[in-house]
Amino acid sequence: MNHQITARGVVKSYGNSPALRGVDFAAARGEVVAITGPSGSGKSTLLHCLAGIVRPDAGSVHLDGQRIDDTSEAHRSRLRRSRFGVLFQFGHLVPELTAAENVAMPLLLAGVRRREAVTAARNWLERFDVADLAGKRPGEVSGGQAQRVAAARALVTEPEVLFADEPTGALDTLASEQVMTQLTRVARSAATTVLLVTHDARTAAYADREVVVRDGTVQGPPPLAGTPGPGAPAALRSTP
């Protein structure tokens, strides 16, 4: 299988406490992968290592076959701006700017002309059904609306990979549904890879598959439902 982003044996400790103890991970282009697991298991740390925000102590991260974890901070930061998008639990919109200006910002930083950037921003707000909020500031919209604006901003540069950490963590069921429905629809139509950290199974169910992190390690893919794995004791294999 042709993987777009891979991690091999990634280790990361904070002081003496290991957060990741040798994690392997791979995602194909256009895949939507949920990264789940108990609190403190290392999900965010894994996401940050994959996105080049945090440098692993050992192991490697590759994007399209190119190693990215041992490059300079400047290089990784350029990579994040040009090929990655990020979305966090609280969208971190700039409070002084309107929704449209927030969404246009990554394009302006990339040197796109103002008029084009604003047009693109409006298009993206439209795709997330919040075009009517273009002129509002983050303080004037609901949490769910702000998160859709943040999602539009994360995707406006048409990144190859979107890294999302608990994007629905602060939202109720219906607001989560709106964010996730739009996000996965848009990502799938553009073949954007989405790596989605969540502790909510209802959010994880929007993904194509799930990777479970427990205690800083990733379990192998579980055997098909209903067929006990090779490790299951013989006594359980014939359970009716």
């Binding site: 108990p38 429905t181 996965t184 629809r185 909510d200 199974a201 209802r202 994880a204 169910a205 929007y206 993904a207 194509d208 799930e210 479970v212 379990q219 579980p222 055997p223 439902a225 209903g226 006990p228 794995g229 490790g231 299951a232 004791p233 006594a235 359980l236 359970t239």
Partner: protein, 178 residues
């Protein structure tokens, strides 16, 4: 919930044949098990006996299939009474998952129970993905969305239980193995 009340509800818009009722039921409640025709006719016969529905004149001579049923005033009153009642929360929550965990611990130890719970979690999430696809498909009917919402919340509750159970396997093993 009784099938009788559901059929009464489906007769509110107007009289219907038994087979039409079955078709409407299956379309309205896509997540439910499809009805057996025999079950529909048996229930209609009981409702007719109790005066809640009235059998209409057959359109032409033939089998019971040709008979339409209409809601009576008593039927409507019964439906109203039923709607005013809340459903009693079930006092016994059947949990085959918990039984399996306990048996797994007894027969093969904590690792077998954990292994089972991991596989059960994957199976539950796979089912949740199916419901999520159904409800987010463009043009999904709201009855389908509501049925999927309900199923998703229940599966999600199971998943919460699975995660808690995983954290308790060690203690459980300690307690129940001799």
């Amino acid at each position: 919930m009784s099938l009788g009340h559901v059929l009464l509800g489906l007769l509110v818009p107007g009289e219907r044949h038994g087979y039409e009722l079955k078709r409407h039921y299956d379309a309205r409640f896509p997540a439910a098990r499809p009805l057996a025709s025999a079950q529909v006719y048996a229930t209609l016969a009981r409702l007719a006996r109790d005066g809640f529905v009235q059998q209409q004149e057959p359109e032409r001579v033939g089998g019971p299939d040709r008979t339409a049923y209409a809601l009576t005033a008593e039927g409507r009153a019964e439906l109203q009474r039923w709607l005013e009642e809340v459903e009693p929360p079930s006092p016994f929550v059947a949990n085959p998952l918990a039984v399996k965990v306990t048996v797994a611990v007894l027969i093969a130890g904590g690792d077998a129970a954990r292994d089972y719970l991991h596989r059960q979690r994957a199976a539950h999430l796979e089912r949740m993905r199916v419901y999520t696809r159904t409800k987010t498909a463009p043009g999904a009917a709201l009855t389908e969305v509501l049925a999927a919402d309900y199923a998703l919340e229940h599966l999600n509750a199971d998943l919460h239980w699975i995660d808690t159970a995983l954290a308790r396997v060690a203690a459980l093993t300690e307690e129940i193995t001799p």
